[in-house]
């Protein structure tokens, strides 16, 4: 364990140095989903180490430099995929043969719950759907987008919060939509204050899909539906069957969660 830790720290030092050399390249950039006019912004996150909780105690993980979405993925972006807005002359109904990528089923109901759409975080998608979106976006843009690992998300949060890890009530209110201030619904992304990295809503608004080291999904950061105490840096929630309990179909949807209007995601990228 001690040796592993030392090696990890050595590697981290190297990674940070490498990141430093590449600092000139570590700049924010804006990508677009052609041929639509929808764009989104990616913010660089320097590499380093994070300490993650694990069943065997704290574990140090090295994180290479990466880029992360400035905001949660919005409906503006997600709709392009769901409704095939990228396909100029889409066949009616659009079987999956219209392009090579599987697309979500049409939900019986309104996944946005009427909370708001333009500029609001996409929500209530399964982890598999969020991953499929990333695969589609990667094919679309030629860049390898994915969901954050638990370590990447943690790294972004730690740099974003800076030294104020206590996260006072006032600061949480300034940064995050939670059950105490959100009036029972998510809000437009970036309508709270940005953190030190320039990221919005890592805490609160929608909880965000990440992949933990064993490959399983959890959501991080808490959401508009969580009490403020659950909207914090250490909050993780694993999906349960209750999140899709009232989908009346069997099999239940692979794409949509009937009872999780508090789940969304943001994307990451290793190389622009």
């Amino acid at each position: 364990m001690a040796t592993k830790l030392t090696l990890a720290l050595l590697f981290a030092a190297w990674a940070q140095s490498a990141a430093g050399q590449a600092a000139a390249r570590l700049v924010p950039f804006r990508d677009s989903i052609a041929p639509t006019l929808v764009t989104f912004e990616m913010i660089p996150v320097p590499g380093g180490t994070v300490t993650l909780d694990s069943p065997t105690g704290p574990r140090v993980v090295v994180v290479a430099p990466f880029w992360i979405g400035k905001t949660e993925v919005t409906w503006d972006e997600y709709d392009v995929w769901v409704y095939r807005l990228d396909l100029a002359a889409a066949a009616p109904g659009g079987s999956d043969s219209a392009d090579a990528t599987a697309r979500p089923s049409r939900p019986y109901g309104a996944p946005d719950r009427g909370f708001g759409h333009h500029g609001y975080p996409a929500l209530a998608m399964t982890y598999a759907a969020a991953r499929a979106y990333c695969a589609w976006l990667s094919a679309k843009t030629g860049r390898h987008y994915g969901l954050p690992t638990d370590a990447q998300w943690t790294r972004a949060l730690e740099l974003g919060l800076g030294t104020d890890t206590a996260l006072s009530g006032d600061r949480r209110d300034a940064l995050a939509w939670h059950a105490g201030n959100a009036a029972n619904q998510p809000h437009a992304v970036a309508s709270k204050r940005a953190d030190a990295l320039g990221l919005y809503d890592l805490l609160g608004n929608v909880a965000e899909w990440v992949t933990i080291p064993d490959g399983a999904p959890v959501v991080r950061g808490g959401s508009w539906a969580d009490p403020v105490a659950r909207v914090g840096p250490r909050t993780r929630a694993a999906p349960t069957s209750a999140w899709n309990e009232t989908d009346p179909q069997f099999p239940k949807s692979r794409w949509w969660l009937a009872d999780a209007p508090f789940v969304g995601f943001r994307i990451v990228l290793l190389t622009p």
């Binding site: 109904g93 049409r106 939900p107 019986y108 109901g109 309104a110």
Partner: protein
């Protein structure tokens, strides 16, 4: 079903009594039949094995002890095969359901007469989940065969079907058979709590209401060369009025039913606008993609209804009631003199399971629920809205009940069937019949 409604007060009282009785039944540990030991096994069968039907079977098996799924019927062999695969998955995912799924090859039937063969099995309760066009006939046959019934909404697509369902509901009462419909909000704890308050005057007298189901488009299966007209239409049943009733009937009925529940009555007339604006490809049949209806209740109160299935448009699904002393969303909030809100921390009960729990408990208690009339009235209310939009006329309840509108062929078989023209307000009339097509 006269337009004067002297019975409305009585009916309102009836609705409340029924709700109270059902609430009591929903507490199995106190039920005397259970206190005496395990209840007799209830055998269930599914007619219509698509995603909703299979889901309904799961909900029923989950809802109660000593229930077994014994038979399946579907028009299409591929649907039946997929359903059996999905049942196997279900048994793997939830081991408590495995011993409840007892479907043998000999108890699986396909074709237009599959429902008759299912009704010949020893099932006690049948779940009717085919496209709505077939519901009225399947229900009549099920009640005739002495089966208890769960049936998905809507329960008809035209007044002929509604007449048949009302007759079946009456017969079910005479034969002490239970009849529960898939209007699951009636079994949702939040809705029941709010309705109880509305009915006891928490928002004063109801003077107006609004109901909405605005969303994007739904699934469509591109036509395959081997499919006849009828097979193509049934596989895409959403998009043909004779099969689904149009989306105001197929989907928006949920919200319209909540309004009828709140008012304790059905509307007496309607005017409406609607059309087919966005979803115009022939692959989507001939139904509309938006409606806006004004319904008028016997007391003069008006219900504004709006429904839409257009991609990329603002969504809203829900209800709002306006009374002389307050307002309510019908399920979680009352604002006004008697403010109230549903506790979001209250244990969540899945209404799709609860409706089956209530159904099974009512059978075992010897007090079978019968929701036939209420769902038939909500179905006809939605049809009234559709026809007001299709025809461009004011349509009254009595006029609709007595008109010749008749959309479902007596004997549906695979073969040619032209697609009716898209309804044209000012030209389309209530005299449409498959017989003259």
């Amino acid at each position: 079903m006269t337009p004067k409604h002297p019975r409305d007060v009585t009916r309102r009282a009836f609705v409340e009594t029924t709700a109270a009785a059902t609430a009591a039944l929903a507490l199995p540990p106190q039920a005397p039949s259970i206190a005496r030991g395990a209840p007799k096994t209830l055998r269930i069968a599914l007619i219509g094995c698509g995603g909703r039907g299979t889901g309904a079977a799961k909900d029923c098996l989950t809802s109660s002890e000593n229930v077994e799924l014994v038979a399946l019927g579907d028009l299409f062999p591929d649907h039946l095969t997929r359903c059996r695969e999905n049942l196997a998955t279900m048994a793997t995912e939830d081991p408590t359901l495995k011993p409840k799924i007892k479907v043998n090859d000999s108890q699986c039937f396909t074709g237009f007469d599959a429902y008759r063969k299912v009704l010949e099995t020893n099932a006690d309760l049948v779940l009717l989940a085919t496209p709505p066009a077939f519901r009225a006939r399947h229900l009549a046959a099920a009640i005739d065969a002495g089966k208890h019934v769960f049936m998905e909404k809507p329960v008809a697509v035209d007044p002929q079907g509604v007449h048949a369902v009302l007759a079946s509901a009456e017969l079910a009462t005479q034969k002490s058979l239970a009849l529960v419909a898939g209007t699951q909000r009636r079994h949702d704890a939040g809705y029941r709590a709010a309705m109880e308050r509305i009915h006891s005057g928490a928002i004063g007298d109801l003077v107006a209401a609004e109901v909405y189901w605005n969303q994007g488009g739904l699934w469509m299966k591109p036509r395959e060369p081997a499919w006849s007209d009828v097979e193509w239409q049934i596989r895409n049943w959403l998009y043909f009025t004779w099969l689904s009733g149009d989306h105001i009937v197929e989907q928006h009925i949920h919200n319209i039913d909540v309004a009828n529940w709140a008012f304790g009555a059905h509307p007496v007339k309607a005017i409406a606008v609607g059309g087919r604006q966005r979803r115009t490809d022939p692959a989507y049949g001939h139904i509309f993609d938006h409606f806006a209806v004004e319904f008028e209740y016997p007391n003069g109160a008006r219900l504004r209804s709006m429904c839409r299935q257009q991609d990329g448009t603002a969504s809203r699904v829900g209800e709002r009631f306006v009374g002389t002393r307050g307002t309510s969303d019908g399920h979680s909030v009352i604002e006004g003199a008697a403010s109230w809100s549903w506790d979001p921390q209250a244990p969540k009960v899945n209404p799709y399971v609860q409706e089956h729990a209530d159904l099974v408990a009512s059978i075992r208690a010897g007090r079978p629920l019968n929701e036939g009339r209420q769902v038939a009235e909500s179905t006809l209310t939605a049809i009234m809205g559709r026809e007001a939009a299709y025809t461009g006329q004011q349509v009254t309840w009595d006029e609709l009940l007595n008109c010749p509108l008749d959309l479902v062929p007596t004997d549906v078989q695979f073969g040619p069937m032209p697609v009716p023209p898209v309804a044209m307000p000012g030209q389309t009339g209530l005299t449409r019949s498959w017989r003259s097509a």
